[in-house]
Symmetry: C2
Amino acid sequence: MPDHEIPKDHPRYLSLTIREAIIKGMHQKVVAEAGLIAHGRGEAFDYLLGERSPPFAMRQQEFAVLTMLQAENPIISVNGNLAAMCPEETVVLGKLLNAPLEINLFYRSQEREQAIKKTLIDAGADIILGLDPDYQDTIEELSHLRRIVDSRGISTSDCVFVPLEDGDRAQALKRLGKSVVTVDLNPLSRTSLTATVSITNNIIRSVPEMIKITKDMTLLSKTELKKRLEQYNNEKLLQEALLFMSERLKALATSDLMLK
Amino acid sequence: MPDHEIPKDHPRYLSLTIREAIIKGMHQKVVAEAGLIAHGRGEAFDYLLGERSPPFAMRQQEFAVLTMLQAENPIISVNGNLAAMCPEETVVLGKLLNAPLEINLFYRSQEREQAIKKTLIDAGADIILGLDPDYQDTIEELSHLRRIVDSRGISTSDCVFVPLEDGDRAQALKRLGKSVVTVDLNPLSRTSLTATVSITNNIIRSVPEMIKITKDMTLLSKTELKKRLEQYNNEKLLQEALLFMSERLKALATSDLMLK
C-alpha cells in the first residue's frame, strides 16, 4: 500500500481521485506544474456552483456552440489540463464542429507537446496542429515561446475555442479580431472578462454538454444561427454566474452545515 | 531563458511568483503534489477576500491566539505547504506561544519529513517533534500512516494549531478532546467547520498577524484570557466570512470590472 493511497472512507474520495488523475497527467508531462494549481482554483469555484451545471452555464454553452457553428474556421486550442481531463470528448467536439485541434501551451516544451499529442491521438484525433515548425506564425503581442501559433490554425482562424487558458492569450487573440470562446470557472478572470463567450463551468461537465448541444444545433441555417445568437449577452451571463455564487454562499451561511 | 519563465509584464506576476515558490517547494520534496492543488483552492478563496485580511479574520486570529495562550500544552502541527510558505514566521510564533513544532503529514514519506525538517531548522527551529520512532503514538481513528503522532507532542497536547490541514485529522483531534485551531481559506471545509477556532485567511498574512497579536496578549492573566475568550463564537465568525465573500461577489457583479 503506497504511502499516499487515498483511504476509501475519505469523504472527499471522488474529488481526491480526480486530483490524482491531474497529478498523473503531470507525471506523464501532459499537465504543467502550474496546471495543478489552476486545477485547485477551479475546484474552489466549482464548489461555489455546487459541482453542477447551473442554468446560466447551459446558456453560456449554447452561446459558445452557436458562435463556433457560425464561424468560418473555428479551431480548438488544446493545453495540458484539457488533454488530461477530457481528451476523448475534446476530439469528438472538434469533429462535430469541424474544428481542428491545435496544441498551444503556456509552459511550452517539446516533451509536453509530444505527451499531449500522444494523449490526443490515443483519444482518436487525426490531425493535430501547432507542432510543425514549417507552419509557425507568431502573435507579436505575446512574450517569447507563448507567441507561436500554427499558420493553418489559430493564425488564420476566425474563432478560437481556448478553454482553461491564460488571460494574456485571450486578450491577444481578441485584439487580432478573432472570436474567443473559453471555459473558466472564475467569472472574474481576465480570460472570462475578455472572451467573446465565457463558460463558467467545470470542463468535465462542459465539453460533454457542448457535444449534445452541437448535435442539436448542427443543422441550423446560418440565418437561424445568427438570429439565435442575438439572444445572448456575455456580460449578463457572467453577472448571473457571480450572483449565483453570491447567493449560494449566502444560503450556505445560514444552512444546517453551519450548525455543528 | 527557460521555457517557463514568467514574463515580468504579466499582470499576475506576483501571484505567479508565489506559485513558483510552491512549485519549488514541491521540487525540494517539501510540498506534496496535492499540496499544489490545495494552494490553488486557497488562491480562489483569497480572491474572494480581496487578497487582504478582513475584520472577521483579525478577530478569528485574536480568538486563535487567546485559545493557544490559554492552553496548557499547545503545539503547532507543520505540513509541507506551511513549511514552504512561512517557515521563519512559524518558528517565531511557536517560540512566542511556547508551542513546539511537530511534523505531521497527510502524504507521509521519510524524504518529505527530512526535507521539511531541514527547512524548519534553516528557519531557526530548535526541537522538531514527530520524527523519532521512539516516541510514536497513534490516533486509532485515522488511516494507516496518517495516524502517527508524537507522544511528547500532539498526543499529549490539549491544543493543536494545525493550519492548512485535512478535515479527517481535525475531526480526529477534536474527538480526542483537544482544542483545534486552524487556518483554511475555505470557510465551508470540514476542517473549518470542525475546528474550535477557524481562521479564514491566507496563511501568508495570518501567521505574521498572529505574531503581533501574541506579543500584545502574552502578558494577560489566565483570568483575563478566559474573559476575553467568551467574546468569540467560531460559527458566527465563519458565517461572517461567508457573508463577506457573498457580498464581495455581489458587488463585483455590478462593478466596472464587468463593463468592457
